[in-house]
Symmetry: C2
Subunit: 204 residues, 2 copies
């Protein structure tokens, strides 16, 4: 019997990289011709390893006057509350990804609504999207990445126990729009320099 090789533990590959994914040779950090910023360049096979920000997709799921939140079962910010959200996957649209995360993290049934907020977080190289969503029943339950799922009226939102600034920003915009009786599409950029983490996974 052969036991397949396994690493002692697994981790998301960080942005810093040493070897070429195409040929396995050592990379050089330099500005390519016809470019104006440093990239990881393979001078053996010629592959240039561009890196780009990532999108995080989520929803604001609503039942009557309450919003659904999930308590995180994973780091970072384990035990803190979040809207259902996660990284955009290949092959999906922003709306499809937001719906997928809502099913995976909250086990919720809902009608997806319009795009509501686009929040830039350049210090972690992420853009967070939130879509409106209307729960169609109260049959929800925590997925593998959630400890619990619950509904909160505006007065009961655990503002001090929210996981990330993008979550508090999206909720604040939502309640403002609900109060004025009209929902727009909001574009915001979060400034750096606040203690609470803003990424939804270990920065990589």
């Amino acid at each position: 019997m052969t036991v397949p090789l396994r690493a002692a533990s697994y981790f998301p590959a960080p942005r810093s990289q040493r070897y070429c994914s195409q040929c396995g040779n050592v990379l050089t950090r330099r500005i390519p011709d016809d470019d104006n910023r440093e990239r990881d360049v393979c001078d053996y096979c010629g592959a240039i390893h561009y890196q780009n920000p990532r999108n995080v997709l989520g929803t604001i799921p609503v039942w009557e006057d309450k919003v659904l939140l999930c308590r995180r079962a994973i780091e970072p910010r384990r035990g803190f509350w979040t809207l259902p959200a996660g990284f955009m996957e290949l092959g999906e649209t922003t709306a499809q990804g937001a719906a997928r995360e809502t099913r995976e993290e909250a086990g919720a049934h809902f009608e997806l609504g319009e795009l509501f907020a686009v929040i830039d977080i350049p210090q972690v190289d992420q853009v967070h999207f939130f879509f409106l969503a209307r729960l169609t029943d109260l049959d929800f339950s925590p997925g593998e990445e959630s400890l619990e799922v619950a509904l909160f009226a505006e007065a009961d939102i655990p503002w001090r126990d929210l996981a990330f600034r993008s979550i508090s920003t999206a909720l604040t915009l939502y309640f403002e729009d609900r109060t004025r009786g009209a929902f727009g599409v909001h574009s915001r950029s979060l400034p750096p320099g606040v203690a609470a983490p803003v990424a939804t996974v270990p920065s990589s």
Copy 2:
């Protein structure tokens, strides 16, 4: 005198990869524990190489009743007309990247306006953002990736010679909003199966 090693030619590293960027060993394509889709996994060092869609950022630069377009100097779609746009870089916001591309590709001076359109193109794993922009003078000139830059009234837009479907979609939405006298924020998804390419760089 030593001549630094250089590859015969350079290319953007494609999404398919064989070697771990962290340790240089050969990757395995499999579903990691606690995941539900295949990733490139390094069973030697434990790095999991997630991949995510990329954002393309651009503007709709306007002077009076005319829109600025750039004729592409690079493939794909060399010689076709586009709004100034390009891939989002690390460390910038969507608005900053849209402004940077407008300076780089059109040499334009402008006041950046609001987010106007978010266009999903899942078949090439991209999300395209377009911001409104108002030119502040007529001093513009093609950058390295443009053959020429010119202003077009709505009646003169070269619809058949536009480079990508996201460009025609953004322009159509812009003229519709201008006609009704109010600009919103639009979210669209482009379906697959149309002949014209939709990516702004070689798919990777």
